[in-house]
């Protein structure tokens, strides 16, 4: 079972991402900013943190870029994938995200299929990726 942590100061966005990702079959937890996300990550009993982080950029106390850097530094989790989602499609944001250590960048609000497919690919979850692709094909047929 894959565990995802949604990190966003917006309660509505957290609920929305939780629904999309939960419906796809993954366990989802939430944090309201980068510091809380690091704490939750360290608290996980199996010491492995989460399997994927879905992270906002603009948050109080610790922004998304700083969080990704600190996650890698404070927890030692250098390989875990990070998907950044943010409000602007500026090329500079996507570049900054990569430089901070994120793997992927989506613009909010992400379409459900886009979010789930990207998450599936980052998680290496072929079943889920196929399900999204299958649903998309069904959608086109009907």
């Amino acid at each position: 079972m894959k565990h995802i942590l949604v990190v966003d100061d917006s309660v509505t966005v957290r609920m929305y991402h939780r629904k999309m990702l939960g419906d796809a079959g993954w366990e989802v937890d939430e944090a309201a900013n980068g510091i809380e996300a690091i704490e939750k990550s360290l608290q996980r009993a199996d010491d492995a943190g989460f399997d994927l982080y879905v992270v906002d950029i603009n948050m109080p106390k610790m922004d998304g870029y700083t969080f990704v850097r600190e996650l890698r530094r404070q927890t030692g989790q250098c390989a875990v994938p990070v998907l950044m989602v943010s409000t602007e499609g500026r090329a500079s944001d996507a570049l900054a995200a990569r430089e901070a250590g994120a793997n992927c960048y989506l613009v909010k609000p992400a379409k459900p299929q886009e979010l789930v497919l990207t998450a599936a690919l980052l998680l290496g979850d072929r079943r889920a990726a196929a399900a999204v692709a299958g649903a998309a094909i069904e959608g086109k047929r009907s």
């Binding site: 309660v11 944090a31 309201a32 900013n33 980068g34 510091i35 809380e36 690091i38 704490e39 360290l42 608290q43 106390k61 610790m62 700083t66 600190e70 404070q74």
Partner: protein
Amino acid sequence: MTASILAAPEITGADFLKFRDFFYRKTGIYFEESKRYFVDKRLVERIEATGADNFRAYFVALRFETTGAELQQLVNAMTVNETYFFREHYQFDCMVNSMLGEIVARKRPGERVRIWSVPSSTGEEPYTIAMYLLERWPLIDTYDVEIISSDIDTQVLKAAEHGVYSKRSVANLPRAYLNKYFTPNGQDGYVISRDLVNAVEFSHANLTDATDMQRFRNIDLVFCRNLLIYFDDVSRRVAAEAIFDALNPGGFLCLGHSESMSRISSLYSVRRFPDAMVYQKPIPKDNK
């Protein structure tokens, strides 16, 4: 004349969700559905205490209040704030099992370890630290340790130095410690040994007063439990920064069980040890 009994204000599901999101945003404390009874009861108490007609009126007043006093009362009501010996003792376990080891590894020979307990309240926390060091830290005979403890309230400081405690306060103590460090006073109270009282240095101090805080320097370990959660947003930051400046690089800070730096400050790194998760002042890279 008929007495009319007003129905107690009702907390609907939507009210609970509104409150929960607000409280989580402010404090980082999240109430699961299973805590409905706990939360509803206390919300009703605060609604009645403030004379509000219903939850909605209370919530509006809460958000518009300039002093933040009701928010503090609300936090008070929603958190458990009794003090007693060995309270949340997993953090003291962490002290002797993990944190002190890292601290002394950075000490020069003869250099003291300094531990600060704030607020001292009536002394249960600093005296607990003292007992832990004497009984549960193997290296207590190798290093000198100073325990300093402060509070803004002179009454509780007096009580701490007086050192008389109730049955309730000592209930969590191992029997052997109770027998060794306390004497019953014949009036259902226990008097703590003068040796322990003399081992702690008490002082009056205000965490948000920069001048006051200049006295606190070169501290290795701070316990600041169940205090910052009652401060307003700006005062919390001021206090967190004061503690940061008081700490040595690599020094540790323990907050209360339900408190988190995530609503206060990003100054500290988070460290997880087997017994507890604590905060640490980073060590500058060139400072080995």
